[in-house]
């Protein structure tokens, strides 16, 4: 059922989030907050070497320490076959996942876990870690992506032979695979072009920077049930991964989601849960494990650092004739960088006839990369949007006009092949150009940058339950942790369909035993896909309410309509009956068949692609290289903003993270391959005082596949900021900046060169 022609009461309004008071008063329970009787502390011993063979591990002294209850090493983890298996959002190689959680025979990065202990206190656990003797055979390491691709680079895995190249390699390599996509002939396009831009670009790995470190409590019961309480982006993902790694049946594992203090993709995988489970099984007591910030930086997923080359050619009228990109992405210690989506998204905003992207997935001695909003897209977008900006400069065109000249629209063939369905990219460009911020005059040392970005958005599997209480209040059960205000948006959609007050709808996030399967909270899917499931569950309730009213009035169900929260006769011919509210019907539900509950389980189709266009104004201090962001304007097609305030929040959050990526964030490794800045003092993320108010414009080009027109909104806003910020800085200092981050030393160096 579509609601596009209906007057909406709740959808599109700004309601108070149900979890807000608990979160601002400290009542909400996050991953580290649970206490169980007899609970132990679990801690992990990590490798100090970036690359080494584990010769031996002696835990005897640690085990003898009073207060130590269990010790786990890689030998305790079941052997996993090296094969891809469907899990969570996509395919996972469980051998790599297992080895990343606990090294088996080799450590591959500074911080790689080698053993874990459970003890009666933090102090005892820490002392036990110091008593574990690990003998390493230290190996040469490689941190940089291009160094890792060289034939003489230290090889991390002797089982990896580059896929996607001919002839098939006979020697192992750090280059996991080569991917290529595109169509037409870019070289022929350059021959027709009046201007050709070709540049190399680099970006550094950056962490998702969630405030809450990874944390889990696990209790292994005497009847072999594994109960987990943890912070994650998906309790079902945690269940699947933990069960697989420990060779358990899914029904043996019950995962209760805690509140989550940020994830941004970094909590779509696991690190602690299987280790805590093994410690609990050995000690027969519940075990809590909480990472320190140091551990979060050293051992959990950043997104990939990259080295890229982009070439774009256009005729004098601004028509792009040819485009290509070569993208080299760091995967970290095991395969799996997001280079393929990088290739797919790089040129997605543009209608091109000749385009080619080639990507390389490369392992290096860094922590395994993890998803980060729009995985793979921001880096590629930075390179392409920088080249587009330079092209506009060379052509003497307004950068938005150049983008409008080449903008993708419905029916455009995307660079990865298929034709776009309904999209709103042009609308974002037009709104950006019309925004007052775009015409504010700039002063000395100031610059303005524009960039656009794209993300696919995804649907996938969701379950939902809507239970009607006897007094007419409603409880909705979702299976997705609430990261960005989804409780509110989901409850608003339920209230809209049922025609009841939003405040009469309460929503909880169920554990894995109390709600059907849900894919992770990720890919900007929850308001779209789980929202669709909740709409269908609410419509199931409406159908039952109409049936109960029909029963009450002794007329056919087709003669009953549901309007504004009341069952009414469809017409005068149906009879003259006093309308029945949801509460009226619920109060008598026992007489008409029993409780009224609606359910839906779907694999949501039709996630509408998202586009955004951003404008960034900066001022650069030429003496210090410090960049001040003066103004930032983010425009995005949301399809339909269910809760505009939270859509704006997603946009502002993405911008803040993207500006940090562009200006300051980077991992600093020493010659010894050890991370030197594993903390927020030395890893510089933007704070509130670093940023101006981020202006937002929500464009609404409805997604026809969703009842309310929703498109996912969480990924797109982190795609354009790298390019927009870099373009602004380049204009401010009069030099093209191609290597992120644009930290003060980098800018001073550029100015001095």
């Amino acid at each position: 059922m579509g609601y596009e022609d209906k007057e909406l009461k709740w959808v599109g309004t700004r309601q108070i989030r149900p979890d807000g008071v608990d979160k601002v008063t400290g009542r909400a329970n996050f991953g580290a907050d649970l206490n169980l009787p007899g609970m132990l502390t679990g801690k992990i011993l990590r490798s100090p070497h970036p690359h080494a063979k584990i010769v031996s591990i002696n835990t005897d002294k640690a085990a003898a320490l009073p207060g130590v209850k269990a010790i786990v090493t890689g030998a305790d983890m079941p052997e996993m076959p090296s094969e891809m298996a469907q899990a969570g959002e996509g395919a996972v190689n469980f051998r790599y996942l297992s080895n990343n959680i606990m090294a088996h025979d080799k450590v591959l990065y500074d911080g790689h876990p080698v053993a874990a202990v459970a003890a009666i206190s933090d102090a005892v656990a820490n002392e036990a870690l110091s008593l574990i003797e690990v003998e390493y055979e230290v190996l040469p390491h490689v941190i940089d992506v291009e160094e890792s691709m060289k034939p003489d680079a230290p090889v991390l895995h002797d089982t990896i032979f580059t896929a996607g190249v001919e002839p098939k390699p006979e020697k192992p390599s750090n280059v996991v695979m080569r991917v290529q996509m595109g169509f037409g002939d870019p070289d022929a396009g350059y021959e027709k072009s009046d201007v050709v831009i070709e540049r190399n670009y680099t970006t550094q790995p950056v962490h998702q920077g969630y405030i809450e470190p990874h944390a889990a409590v696990v209790e292994w019961t005497e009847n072999d049930e594994c109960r987990i309480w943890c912070s994650s982006q998906g309790q079902f993902m945690v269940r699947t991964f933990t069960a697989k790694l420990l060779d358990l049946e899914l029904a043996q594992v019950r995962v209760t989601p805690a509140e989550i203090g940020g994830g941004f993709g970094g909590k779509t995988t696991i690190y602690l849960e299987p280790v805590a489970a093994l410690l609990s099984r050995k000690s027969h007591r519940p075990v809590r494990m909480v990472m320190s910030r140091d551990e979060v930086f050293r051992a959990t997923g950043p997104t990939s650092g990259t080295a890229m080359r982009v070439k774009i050619g256009a005729t004098r009228d601004g028509k792009i004739q040819g485009a290509e990109a070569e993208l080299k992405y760091q995967a970290g210690a095991y395969p799996g960088s997001p280079v393929a989506p990088g290739c797919m998204t790089a040129f997605a905003p543009y209608a091109l006839e000749n385009v080619k992207t080639v990507g390389y997935d490369v392992v290096v001695n860094r922590p395994l990369s993890a998803s980060y909003r729009a995985p793979g897209a921001p880096m590629a977008s930075f390179a392409v949007e920088s080249a587009i900006d330079e092209l506009a400069q060379e052509l003497g065109m307004d950068p938005i006009d150049l983008r409008l000249k080449n903008a993708a629209k419905e029916g455009t063939q995307a660079p990865y092949g298929p034709k776009f369905k309904s999209i709103g990219y042009i609308e974002t460009l037009e709104a950006a150009k019309a925004h007052p911020n775009y015409n504010i005059p700039l002063g000395p040392n100031q610059g303005r940058g524009v960039a656009s970005g794209f993300w696919f958005n995804i649907g996938m599997q969701s379950s939902a339950t809507v239970n009607v209480a006897e007094d007419g209040t409603v409880c909705v059960i979702s299976g997705n942790p609430d990261i960005g205000g989804s409780r509110a948006s989901l409850a608003m959609m339920a209230a809209e369909v049922l025609g009841v007050d939003y405040n009469k709808v309460k929503i909880i996030v169920g554990d894995t035993a109390s709600i059907g399967y849900n894919d992770v909270t990720g890919g900007s899917r929850v308001t779209f896909a789980t929202g669709m499931a909740i709409i269908q569950a609410a419509e199931d309730v409406v159908q039952q309410l109409r049936e109960r009213a029909a029963m009450t009035w002794d007329i056919g169900v087709d003669a009953v309509v549901w309007e504004d929260g009341f069952a009414r006769p469809a017409s005068a011919n149906a009879g003259d009956f006093k309308p029945l509210s949801l509460a009226d019907i619920a109060a008598k539900a026992g007489r008409t068949g029993g409780p009224i509950n609606g359910k839906a389980a779907i694999n949501a189709r039709g996630a509408g692609a998202g586009f955004g266009t951003h404008i960034c104004d900066v001022e650069v201090d030429p003496d210090t290289g410090h960049v001040t962001v003066l103004r930032y304007t983010a425009v995005q097609d949301a399809g339909k903003a269910i809760h505009p305030g939270y859509v704006e929040g997603q946009m502002q959050g993405g911008v803040a993270q993207g500006v940090g990526w562009a200006l300051n964030e980077e991992y600093i490794y020493g010659e010894d391959g050890r991370l030197q800045n594993p903390g927020f003092l030395d890893y510089r993320m933007p704070v509130a005082s670093d940023l101006p108010m981020i202006d937002t414009v929500i464009v609404e080009v409805p997604n026809p596949a969703h009842p309310f027109g929703v498109r996912g909104v969480g990924e797109v806003p982190i795609v354009p900021p790298l390019g927009a910020t870099a373009n602004a800085v380049s204009h401010a200092i009069g030099k093209r900046m191609t290597d992120l981050p644009l930290s003060p030393p980098a800018i001073v160096s550029a100015l001095d060169s």
Partner: protein
């Protein structure tokens, strides 16, 4: 006939470098069966994890019975994750 496009890698691996085909199939299951008959082994690869399908511009991460029209455009793509 649906117009089907494989990735360069799959085309090289199974179809002698060819990536574009016209295939008569009413749904994804039949399409994959038809491709597997043309290029033995390709069907298993297309059903492996990590591959998505776009049918007339809509991307499906785990398709099976999705309908394919007579003139549909079908692309086999890397599966998409999110953050």
């Amino acid at each position: 006939m649906a117009q089907v496009v494989l990735s360069n890698e799959l085309g090289r691996q199974f179809a002698g470098g060819q990536t574009h085909f016209d295939v008569d199939a009413v749904n994804v299951r039949k399409l994959i069966g038809a491709l597997d008959e043309m290029f033995p082994g390709l069907g298993a690869e297309l059903q492996s994890d990590g591959i998505a399908i776009a049918i007339d511009g809509e991307i499906f991460s785990d398709p099976f019975l999705e309908a394919i029209a007579d003139n549909s455009e079908v692309y086999f793509l890397p599966a998409i994750k999110g953050g």
